[in-house]
Symmetry: C2
Subunit: 230 residues, 2 copies
């Protein structure tokens, strides 16, 4: 009951599931926030629900925010998701799966909930090494958001606390993330990473996200629990 | 056609209508963004539509985002709106009409749209003098968001442009805002400021927002076009 509350952004993917397990391991009372932003598939939301239930959260909130209104990304508009790219290709420029200002929006929503809960700890599973092309996965972005959070809120004026944006995976490789998650008991079979799954939820195995994930399991020597399309 | 695009946060209130008119006067192609965040009344949204039509915008987008899920404010939860307060009372502490992280969320959404439009100019009608209690109406908040915007986005990585958050009213008194708006042709009868209007849209005349607005018209020597409850 005396646990400090934390808000965790939970997408249902591998990274955010691991971030949730880390927050759990650090003893926070978990408030998981999933944004249904118009992903092409409700599969991610379902994965988030399963992960939240497996790890055990005080509250899981799914919030609707249709970013398809803006478009501008292969994840929110009718654009083709790249397939079969090499790591070098993935790390060249900003991929079209980048969703404009997504992490800024998601962290803002997490901040609103945290402020109402009187929580000062927000966890986000952003990762710099695998997503170096995404501007809002960079350490300097996370630091800038933390500064903003402490100006944007009551606590920033009243001095009652200081917000911290925890990005525990930001410097981790996929292998390190998977090993850490396995050690913390994350059931990765519940998570979903694919950008273009089949209607039954099976992963394509060919988008950047699938390829990074599969390579991570292989390199970690962990059996890949992902269900792929035949 | 060669006008630079700008995104303007438009609530339907007096300040944001004036900010829209200023952006128009500066020659931007106007993209007005209204967030339907669970305001108790659709009256504000209606006001925003009328203002957008009067001033003339290229596009007006109304986005649904139900911040009542979080609560924590008299504007998003079942709390009483303060009435008949003096200016001194209004300026003591943070009023319960403060909505946690609202301007951070709204600016994030404006940033997303701007990034898709390849616009680098975002206008917001925040005002420090009348809302000194709101943490996210302070100049240091606006500056911090501008810094964040330039780290959070493609342009921040690629160096293709620099976002600017325009808060043209931040240092203005209500009188100055009204005089500027009148000079620019804003029809304030279309705007809505009241926190707790009657079901027919009439303003209460007693909440902080009504009192500041009425005083502004009186001090500006401008006839108050607001329709109040009898």
């Amino acid at each position: 009951m005396s646990q400090r509350p934390a808000v965790i952004l939970l997408s249902g993917g591998l990274d955010s599931a691991t971030a949730l397990a880390i927050a759990h391991n650090e003893g926070y009372r978990l408030h998981a926030l999933t944004i249904a932003y118009g992903q092409r598939h409700s599969i991610e939301i379902e994965a988030a629900r399963k992960v939240a239930a497996q790890i055990g959260v005080a509250r899981h909130r799914v919030m609707e925010l249709d970013l398809r209104a803006f478009g501008g990304s292969a994840l929110t508009a009718d654009m083709e998701v790249p397939q079969d790219r090499s790591l070098d290709e993935m790390n060249t420029g900003i991929p079209i799966t980048y969703v404009p200002a997504r992490n800024t929006i998601f962290l803002s929503l997490a901040l609103a909930w945290a402020e109402v809960l009187e929580s000062f700890d927000i966890f986000v599973g952003v990762n710099f090494l695998d997503y170096s092309g995404y501007p809002d996965c960079r350490p300097e972005f996370v630091e800038a958001f933390e500064s903003l959070a402490n100006l944007a809120t009551k606590a920033g004026v009243e001095g009652t606390g200081r917000f911290r944006i925890h990005a525990p995976l930001i410097w981790s490789s996929k292998v390190e993330i998977i090993r850490q998650g396995v050690a913390l008991g994350v059931d990765y079979s519940l998570t979903h990473s694919c950008y273009q799954p089949a209607s039954d939820g099976a992963a394509c195995g060919r988008c950047d996200s699938c390829l990074l994930r599969a390579q991570g399991f292989a390199d970690a020597g962990v059996s890949d629990p992902t269900r792929y399309v035949p």
